[in-house]
């Protein structure tokens, strides 16, 4: 019964999202697009952070190299299809190469290496003016003809999000997903039940970089431009905040977190300049009072409610 109700709610939400451009103005549509791009990016991070227990502090690298690869390729050759494939492919190459070194470390050492490697990529993109456009980035990136209106771009980011989120959900609940969670929670124990933890963690990083790469394509569709800011460590930190605010131990957490943060910052920015302050307070409150995030908090409330009902029956 409960399962069916969940699916119905989900289907209604998807239908509403698909038909949103019919009722909403173009600004709201753009904000929703941003939510889908960010939510997919956050989901890709949470595969390694929440499930894999790895302190990935610089996920933005994979989004960034994918977005840049697409943009540079399309600018120079014009083939959109190859560009779209190239983005995630380059992200996976970066994920694999970095991952090989990362999985040899754990805990805070892992986190520090993600920052060092990520900032290295940022510094190169930032300074390689002749190739990447340096600090200016690429202000106008061409898109295929079927993405010329804002509604089309919106539907594209939505569909990319839905397909990727479904795939990630399946992965999280697969046998591999179980072992990734196990490795993240207790590496020594995982080894003693014959899990090759390094390979499992590396696979997690590669999958995560692939989906971050896809979110990079989605990002270009949304913004139609790229700049080195998308690779800066603060962008990675912000997505970490989205994951935490939503809840890193639940699948929906990063999606809800992204939506909440984007909505609050969008609304707040109409009234004040101090957006970072608002974000900081949200994060502070989450860390102190809702460490399991919004979704984790709600789940626990419902869980406690059911338990309480049982007790009184």
């Amino acid at each position: 019964m409960k399962f069916n109700r969940k699916v119905y709610i989900l289907l209604i939400l998807i239908a509403a999202a698909l038909t949103a451009p019919l009722v909403l103005d173009s600004y709201s549509i753009l904000v929703l697009s941003e939510i889908f791009v960010t939510a997919l990016f956050a989901l890709s991070l949470n595969l390694v952070l929440g499930y894999g227990g790895m302190l990935q502090f610089h996920q933005a690298v994979f989004l960034g190299v994918s977005a840049y690869s697409y943009s540079l390729f399309v600018l120079h050759s014009g083939s959109f299809i190859i560009g779209i494939v190239l983005g995630p492919a380059v992200a996976v190459i970066f994920g694999t190469v970095m991952g090989v070194f990362l999985v040899r470390l754990s805990g805070i050492y892992f986190g520090m290496l993600t920052i060092a490697l990520g900032q290295l990529v940022w510094a190169v993109v930032f300074k390689w003016y002749s190739f990447t456009g340096g600090g200016n980035g690429i202000p106008s990136v061409p898109l295929p003809g079927f993405l010329s209106t804002s509604t089309e771009r919106y539907e594209a980011t939505l569909i990319i999000f839905l397909i990727s989120a479904f795939a990630l959900y399946k992965i999280v609940n697969s046998p591999f997903g179980l072992l990734l969670k196990a490795t993240g929670q207790n590496n020594t124990r995982a080894e003693s039940i014959s899990v090759n933890t390094k390979v499992v963690r590396l696979t997690g990083i590669v999958l995560s970089s692939f989906f971050a790469g896809i979110s990079g394509i989605s990002y270009v569709i949304y913004s139609q431009s790229v700049s080195p800011d998308i690779l800066y460590w603060k962008n990675s930190a912000e997505i970490l905040v989205a994951c935490l605010v939503g809840g890193i131990y639940t699948f929906a957490g990063p999606i809800v977190g992204s939506a909440v943060i984007i909505l609050i910052t969008t609304i707040a920015s109409q009234y004040m300049e101090y957006i970072a302050f608002v974000l900081g307070i949200i994060l502070l409150v989450s860390v102190l009072f809702m460490p399991d995030g919004i979704v984790g908090f709600i789940k626990k409330r419902i869980g406690d409610g059911i338990a309480a009902n049982k007790r009184y029956q």
């Binding site: 609940n173 179980l178 196990a182 003693s192 499992v200």
Partner: protein, 244 residues
């Protein structure tokens, strides 16, 4: 089954094990005893691949396994339980056991769907160990005792030929120790598993082990049957003090 050959290990200046050699016979229960700091845990960590010895070899059925990765040693048939339950805290009891079966069934890289075989195997071991009631409870919400039993269930799920158990009765009420002993004995006989365990409770050791190895300050001071151990003056000295 398992041969410890001339193993030495030190931490900084502290010598934890020195020139240790003995055998763990196949199909029997062997106990490793000694006071705190005797080097029992260090030896276990060397056998399971979590520590590297400075000197010496670990041989499993004529195969040198010294210095291999822990996951390889585990896949060669050495299972392990930990003194303080060391599990996957956010996973349910069933998922903990399933994790072990998934690796064993070669389904590590199955990214979609579920592994029904592992699920059924987990269900069956949960039935056998009377854990059905907590099957879907996350381990963090389970009692210490359940954790201890889950330790054994998970080690069994890896299909070990040799089971290393670090203080299987530690922290368990006296009344339930007998229960655990029965389970270990049964496992050993039914599944032909060799058991090698550490323990501080001498009476427990005498009732279950067919061979005893005694360590003190990293050195082997006795190796033989339990009866002889009780008569050995060296062993008495450690457990009862010099005057005994």
């Amino acid at each position: 089954m398992l041969q410890i050959k001339d193993i030495s290990k030190s931490f900084e200046k502290f010598l934890a094990l020195s020139n240790l050699s003995f055998d763990v016979p196949e199909g029997k229960i062997t106990a490793l005893i000694g006071p705190n700091g005797a080097g029992k845990s260090t030896l276990f960590n060397i056998i399971s691949g979590h520590l590297r010895p400075e000197k010496g070899k670990i041989v499993l059925k004529n195969k040198d396994i010294t210095g291999l990765s822990p996951h390889i040693i585990s896949s060669l048939g050495i299972g392990r339980t930990f003194q303080i339950p060391s599990l996957f805290p956010k996973l349910t009891v069933k998922e903990n056991i399933m994790a072990a079966y998934i690796v064993r069934n070669g389904k590590t890289f199955k990214f979609f769907g579920i592994d029904r075989k592992s699920e059924m195997a987990a269900d069956s071991i949960i039935d056998k160990m009377n854990l059905s009631e907590v099957s879907n409870t996350p381990v963090t919400s389970c009692s210490y005792g359940v954790g201890k039993e889950l330790e054994i269930a998970m080690a069994m799920a890896t299909n070990p030929k040799l089971l290393l158990m670090d203080e299987p009765t530690a922290g368990i009420p006296k009344t339930e120790v007998g229960n655990i002993i029965e389970k270990i004995k049964l496992l050993c006989e039914l599944e032909h598993i060799t058991v090698f365990f550490t323990e501080h409770d001498i009476s427990f050791v005498l009732s279950i082990a067919s061979k005893i190895v005694v360590l003190n300050q990293g050195e082997l001071i006795f190796e033989g049957v339990p009866k002889e151990a009780m008569e050995s003056s060296d062993v008495k000295e450690i457990y009862l003090g010099k005057d005994a």
